[in-house]
């Protein structure tokens, strides 16, 4: 009976480590993310073989708390993000649009987690649950924002049967890796973590005829 209970408890611990599901934010759905370093990859691209290899590098257990392995550190990336705006003028007369561009704090710094690592929302910023957030911030550097202006206004005239699109590209930094949590030398959680911070955004405006 004891053996069955022990196996059941161990299974409960194992389930989250076997199911690797990434809790992703918007940046993982960007049209394009290209690393400068060809060998670097996003957390969502980690294979189960990658996870096994990284966990094996952290085989020494600890008394309590999180143990981190940084796989990708401050790796520069280029990205093409989502379309910020699309305005259609289906009418027969010219229209004037006032567009306001603001980059949300949630876009400037984003995180993802997999396995049994979870995230929480505090204010408008997502954080890794528990002390892991502080451990990661202490291990990797991330950008602080100090901009010339917080939002920009742009007036545009749109011809009939025309649409306007504003897209953003940019440069950013990715940090990712895996982590394990211990409680009295017993591993209780394991999974992957990733931070994405935007360093510069570039805007592009396109006017096209509705086909």
């Amino acid at each position: 009976m004891k053996k069955i209970i022990i196996i059941a408890i161990l299974s409960c611990w194992m389930i989250p480590t076997v199911l690797i599901h990434v809790q992703a934010e918007e940046y993982t759905n960007y049209q394009e993310i290209i690393f400068e370093n060809d060998e670097a990859k996003l957390l969502k691209e980690y294979s189960s073989v990658d996870y096994s290899a990284y966990y094996d590098q952290m085989n020494k257990s600890r008394f309590m708390g999180w143990k981190l392995l940084i796989v990708t550190q401050n790796e520069p990336v280029e990205f093409v993000s989502e379309t910020k705006l699309r305005i259609f003028n289906n009418g027969f007369s010219t229209i004037k649009h006032d567009v306001e561009l603001t980059t949300k704090a949630e876009t400037k710094y984003q995180i993802s987690a997999s396995g049994s690592i979870s995230t929480s929302l505090k204010g408008d910023i997502k954080k890794f649950k528990g002390t892991l957030d502080a451990d990661i911030k202490a291990s990797v550097s991330y950008a602080e924002t100090l901009t010339t202006s917080e939002s920009y206004r742009f007036t545009i005239i749109v011809d009939p049967k025309t649409y306007v699109t504003i897209i953003t590209r940019g440069l950013g930094e990715i940090n990712n890796g895996v982590a394990k949590n211990y409680f009295f030398w017993i591993e209780t959680k394991r999974g992957g973590w990733e931070t994405f911070s935007v360093t510069t955004e570039y805007y592009e405006i396109v006017k096209e005829k509705i086909r």
């Binding site: 901009t147 010339t148 202006s149 510069t200 405006i205």
Partner: protein, 313 residues
Amino acid sequence: MKKVAFCLLALYLIIVVLVLFFDQKPAQEIAILHVKSNRAVLLGSAEECLDVVLYLSDTDSFFTDEQNIVSVMIQDDNQLVAASVRSILLDSRPVIIDTTRYYPFTFQLVFDQVISSGGQLIFFHPHCLFTYQNEELLDIEMGDLTLSFMEISPIEHLDFTRLYGMMNTSSDRQFLNGIVIGLKKYPLGDISLESFESTLPNLLLDLSQAQIIAEPISPFTDISELLQKPYFPILSEESVLSTSLILKAEETLLFIPIFYRDLTLKTEQFPLVIHYSYAGNAYTFILDDFIYYQDHDYKLASESDVWEYLYRY
């Protein structure tokens, strides 16, 4: 008994620490930061405003209370313009720099007292002066500023189909080294482009080195390849950038290189004033002040970009 005494002692120590922690006197100084940049703003109406972002280490000071502001002036050595504060907004999260928490306040300035339709004010290294009821003067150093009081053009002969900036990322400092603009002409006859103006005297668009490109290129392309010669962003005083370019096709995609008088401060935003001629007449096509890029990383701002002020009381 020993345990009880130990617990009481521990409790006493915790209370002492908490009292000391929470009983600190309020801050005796307020730190204020402003990121300088060269800006060109198109103000099409009295409602349009100029945003000045100040980072303050205190959320509740007289600096950010509109009622306490007596006057606002933007001035350089030669000219000045009076402004009014429409509102002061705090709608972004604070940033932590060197352990100090700074809150970004946007001061929205309007020029309703002096707006002159069609006029242009060009300030070199101006100061923005806020005078408060307590006679405190907040004297903010800004980058070059051009205020153009003009409306964007209706589409007549010419319209744009695409617009983005080309970036130099090879040096330590990021800057725009060109723009890509798609132009569409409506009349059947040729249109002659005479010049492109950014309205900033420091930033010049060189039409004489413009290239017609077949399709959009990456904003990170090395423009020396496009120009087929090394690109040096700083322009000498003697350089004259004037030539015309004939638009024959209905749609043309142009790359136009940018040159600077100096690169001390970054320029992220400017309007485009395109002078062209059609059928022997001169016209102007004005595009609103587009934001080409935006830095989000404090590390990218050099020390000379940031104006700092420490108010002690």
